[in-house]
Every structure is written in C-alpha cells, then in structure tokens.
Amino acid sequence: MEYSVQIMSPAAHILFWFVMVMTVASAALVVVAKKILHAAFALSICFLGVSGIYVFLHADFLAAVQLIVYVGGIIVLIMFAIMFSSHTQEAGGEGGRHYLALGAGAATALIVFTSVLMMVGKLNQPLAEQNNRAYEAYQHTVGITAADLAAEPQRLGLGHMLMGEYLLPFEVASILVLAALLGAVVIVRKETKG
C-alpha cells in the first residue's frame, strides 16, 4: 500500500499543477514585492491557491473556511493595517548591510525545503503497522478499550468530531479568541482612561 495513490483525469492533473505553480509563485511574490500593497494582493492569491489544493485533497470544508477566514477576513485586516501605516507603502528594501540577514534567511529556507524533500522521499512505505502501535500506546494512556472502539462508528464527519471528540479544545480555543479580541481592542483604542 502506497502512502498516496490517486487517479485523476488529465484535465484535473493540469489544473492541479497550475494551482501548485500559481501558489508557489504568488508566495514568492509576497516576499520579494517592493510595495507592501502588492505583497498583500499576492498573499490573497496564495491563499486562494492553497484553498484550491485543499479541494484536491478532499478537504472541502477547510477550503471554504480558508476562503472565508483568510481571503475574506485576514486579508482585509492586513489591508486596513497597511492603510493605517500608509506612508510606509515602500516595503523596505534590503539595504547593503543586510547580506547577513538575507544569507541566513536563504540558508534557512534552503535547509528547510531540502530536508522536507528528503524526508517525504522516504515516505513510500505502509503506514498501518506503525499507526497501530502508536494507537495502542494512545489507548493505554487514555484508557479506551477495544469494546469502546467497536461502539464508535468508523468514520466520523468533521462536524461530529468538532462537537464531540474535539469539543474541549474547541471551547479552549474560544478563550484564545477572547484574549485576542480583548487585547486587540485595548491596544489600539484611542481613549483609555475613564
């Protein structure tokens, strides 16, 4: 059993590669763009591309959430921030003294990317045996028995999981959003005392 075996029509294949190339290109544009507004536009294209990849990976719900939250929310937020600090539209080029930073950045990027490539190259092996062992350890810590497992349906929908198995992290995430809301409002508010 291979890690991933997927049969796609030739058209889907072409589309897939188009989206891939578009995503990488726009990501690169984000970082090299001279004007910060251009970087933000490139970022929205990149987000669109990633959401397209999600569709290919059968994660439809995430693709929609990606569109709504990132393209609809975060990009708008970033645009606002750019407008507020508008006279620095110039994104700040790399002055001569920053060869060190440039080199360090490029080296990090290169190391991360090649190691990812090397690692995924090794991934052509069955997964199940390993996964079973990890899951037995998981069962041991958590105290789930085989009977509990048999009672569970085998595949749960995302919504079911979010409202069942992962309800607690979901609630904890609401604390995070509360903290962010409180903090963001408080730090940009003009009048503070009184």
């Binding site: 390993q130 995070l176 903290a179």
Partner: protein, 499 residues
C-alpha cells in the same frame, strides 16, 4: 468523554471566571471605585491556588498518596492521570507548574496596582489579560496532546504580547511587544510544522511516546519533526542560540509583565519541554539522540548568559541575561541517560519543579524591587539608581540582597539547593562535564550579583541616594518571596518531601 472530569480543571476555571469578572467590573464601576479591581484579580489568583491545593490534596488522598508525579511515568496498573480522553493530565508536575504560574500572576497584578500613571490600558483589561495568560500557562502545564498544548501556548503568548506593549506611550514597551510578537509567532510556526511531521508519522495527536522500528522510513519524518519542535521550544524558553529576543523584550516590557514572562512563561515553556522531551521522545532510543544536543545547548546557554550579564549596567537587562543562564541550568536536569529507570527520570523532574519554584520566588521578588524603584512614573533600572538603597529602605535592600545571593546559588538560600539538585541529577546520569561547567559558570555569576549588593550597601562617593516608592501590597509580596526563598533553602523537604 467523561465530562465530570472537568472538575479537575476547576483551578483554571476559577482564574478564567476572575478574568471575566475583572473586565466586567472595569466597565460598570465608577472611576473612584476601581480600587477593587486588583483585589478581585488577586482574589482570583488566590482562589485558583486554593482550588489547586484542594485538587492536589483530594487526589492524593483518593489515590493514597499515589498521585503520579509525571504522567508518562504512571504505572500502567495504577490510576491513569489522563482526563477528558487524554486531552489533559493531572499530575504532580502539572500542578507545580500551575502554582508557579498563579504566583507569577499575583505579582504582575500587584506591580501594576501601585503605579497608576503609565499603563495605557484600563486597569481592568490589564488584570484580565494577566489572568488569561495565567490560565494559558496552567492549561499548558496540564496539556497532554498537541492540540491543547498549542492552543494553551497561544492563549499565553497572545495575552503576553499585548501585556508587553501595554505602556503605549513608552517607545520601549511597544518595541518589546513588536519583537516578542514577530519572534514568538515565527517560533510557533516551527513548532507547528514539527507537530505536523510527527502527526504524519504516527497518525496521532497525543503526546504519548513515538514507537518506531530502527529501519522504518518514517524515522526521518519523526527526526525532522523533532528538530523543528526543538527549535520552537528552545525559542520559547530562551536558550542559546535562540535567546536573542530575551534581553530587549524583558527590558522594554513593564516590570510586572517582565516578572510574569521571566517566571510564568518560562515555567510553562519548561512544562512543554518536559512533556515533549521525556514523554513523546522519551523512549530510550530517542533519548540517546537528543541528550547530546540538549547538553550542548545547556552548556552554551549558561556560559553565554552569565558572560554577557557581567557587563550589564541595567538591572532589568542583567536579570534577563541571568534568566538565560538559569534556562541553561534547568536544561541540565533534562539530561537523563539512555537506560535510566522511571525513578531517575522522576528525580530529574522533581529537580525541575523545585528549581522553577525557587527561581520563580527569587526572580519575582527581584522584579518586585525593580518595579518599586521608580520616579516620575519612570522605572529607575540602572545600577547607579541602587546606590545606598540599604540606608533608605533597609528591609527592601535586605530582600534584594537575599534574592541576588539566592540567584547566585549561595547556601542558606533556595537557589543553592535548586542548583545542587540539578547538578546532582546531571552527575547521577553520567553528564559530569556539563555539571562541572555549570558549577564554574555559577561561581563566575557571583561577580555580577554581588555588584548589585555592593551598590546597595556601599554606595559610591557623591552619588545620589536611591529613591523608592512605597506600596504595602508589593512590599508584602517581596517579603513573602524573601521568606519563601530562605524557607525553601533551609527546609527544602517542605516541597521535596511530598513524595
């Protein structure tokens, strides 16, 4: 899922409730009655501590003294510390981390309560964010899967970013927030990518140990994931080579927030390090591979932190570098040899807990004194500002001297015993060289701690006398931490005897 187990997270619930109450009170109370806000926040911290103690005692009684110190070391036959499907664990280690976080939160509240002039935030929001950060730290101490761990970490970080920038008119405070934010988010991204790789290899989000056959190709994935997670974690605890953000962030942030970062954030960071290193990657085959890295990081961190601290003129910056050095000492405790048994690992983790409590008390006290030496709404943080403090405020100077000597690791104070336990744990596990280097750097550190003490007791000729505010709340807290430092130093079994 057994929702009745939520009761065991009651201390976190109490702190969260207090946060909401404080923010709400800020909205409804008229200005002259806002003095109840710090009281409410303090009450939240104290109630949280009470709930934590009650939790600990009742669990210990229920389990006949067998509450596991660390979840990964729990006997398979015994009581499982995991609650809520393994999302959290309630063990002795997590409880000690939560206690440190609550004490740090209490200090941060007190520091803000006595200076009305410079914090741009409404007090209610400030206290609310402190309590939210504390709740994040407590949750991080108890987290037992990657998802809850990450969310707790972010609750803590997001609140602390804002708190660091809470003196909005102060350029340094904004700069501190900005640096902390960019580097914190950057390191979180590395942490998350590492988690993604480990998930890809094991298919599980739990922190339970990774098992792999030596020839399994997914070893590469786990190794890469481990490397990324290690980078993220060393960033968060401020170890060399990822320490460069610490001095600027600590110096620029308001002093109370610096105390919260130096103690609470560091304790929670080490909770994450302990859970991931000793549990997820705690299998002997992995331990063999990371002990060398951790030993190197520990040695470089102690050496560099102490060395740069020698030439600092700002007390806040000095304490920041001293904090880096202490991160190095703490990392020493994670050096457990390949074939160590559960008892030895538990001994090391007890050393970590004791160190965090002792370091927490003395650092909080020291930052408390720094926050009191202020004039015209501005913190006086240079060494010269401490000239002759002993004459003007003998009790404060005595406490400050105790904190400094304790940080240096001199015998009657808790710092000595904390360092002793850490070095002993490293030597027991066969890491003699790092431990010896630790002792040497610790002797060298005496120089800069004594500089502060000498300034207070033997002022330079013709210098301006030190000026200090008086606030009974902060003074009370400083005396309490001084007392605690001495008490843990002469009677360490008070905490270690819980076994």
């Amino acid at each position: 899922m057994n929702w009745s187990q939520l009761v065991e997270l009651l201390p976190v619930g109490v702190v969260l409730a207090a946060a909401l109450v404080v923010v709400f009170l800020q909205l409804v109370l008229p200005a002259k009655e806002r003095y109840v806000l710090p009281m409410a926040a303090m009450a939240g911290c104290l109630l949280g501590l009470g709930a934590l103690a009650q939790n600990y005692l009742s669990l210990n009684q229920f389990l006949k003294g067998g509450l596991p110190w660390f979840a990964a070391l729990a006997q398979p036959s015994g009581h499982s510390p995991a609650i809520l499907n393994g999302a959290f664990v309630i063990d002795g280690f997590g409880i000690s981390i939560a206690a440190v976080a609550l004490i740090a939160g209490a200090l941060s509240v007190l520091c803000a309560s006595h200076n009305d002039d410079d914090s741009a935030l409404g007090k209610g929001e400030y206290y609310g964010l402190v309590l939210l950060a504390v709740a994040g730290m407590m949750l991080l101490g108890f987290s037992h899967d990657f998802l809850t761990l990450l969310i707790s970490l972010e609750i803590m970080s997001v609140s602390t970013y804002i708190l660091a920038g809470s003196e909005r008119e102060n350029v340094r405070s904004g700069e501190s927030a900005m640096k902390y934010l960019v580097l914190g988010a950057f390191s979180s991204a590395f942490l998350m990518l590492g988690m993604a790789f480990v998930f890809g290899a094991t298919g599980s989000l739990s922190l339970s140990p990774v098992f792999l056959l030596p020839n399994d190709p997914r070893n590469y994935l786990v190794m890469g994931g481990f490397g990324l997670i290690l980078v993220g974690m060393l960033f968060k605890v401020g170890a060399v080579p990822f320490h460069f953000w610490v001095p600027d962030v600590y110096q620029g942030a308001p002093t109370g927030v610096t105390g919260l970062m130096a103690v609470g954030v560091k304790a929670a960071g080490f909770a994450m390090v302990a859970r991931i290193l000793l549990e997820t990657f705690g299998a002997p085959v992995f331990r063999f591979q990371w002990t060398g890295l951790i030993a190197a990081a520990a040695v470089v961190t102690m050496a560099l932190g102490n060395f740069i601290a020698l030439r600092q003129s700002s007390v806040k910056r000095l304490l920041a570098y001293s904090g880096i050095a202490h991160t190095g000492y703490l990392l020493l405790a994670f050096l457990v040899q390949k074939n160590a048994n559960a008892a030895m690992v538990e001994e090391s983790l007890r050393a970590v807990s004791f160190y965090l409590v002792a370091y927490g008390l003395m650092t909080l006290g020291a930052f408390g004194v720094v926050s009191l030496t202020r004039e015209d709404g501005r913190t006086l943080e240079n060494l010269e500002d401490y000239n002759g403090l002993a004459k003007e405020h003998p009790a404060l100077a005595l406490c400050m001297a105790a904190f400094m000597l304790s940080l240096a690791g001199l015998p009657p104070f808790s710092g000595f015993f904390a360092k002793f336990m850490v070095f002993r744990s490293a030597i027991d596990n066969g890491f003699v060289l790092p431990a010896v280097l630790g002792i040497l750097t610790s002797v060298a550190s005496l120089y800069y701690y004594l500089r502060v003490v000498l300034r207070m007791y033997m002022p330079e000729e013709g210098s301006v006398a030190a000026r200090c505010q008086y606030a009974w709340t902060s003074n009370l807290l400083i005396y309490a931490s001084g007392l605690g430092s001495v008490l843990l130093g002469v009677a360490p079994h008070l905490m270690m005897g819980m076994k």
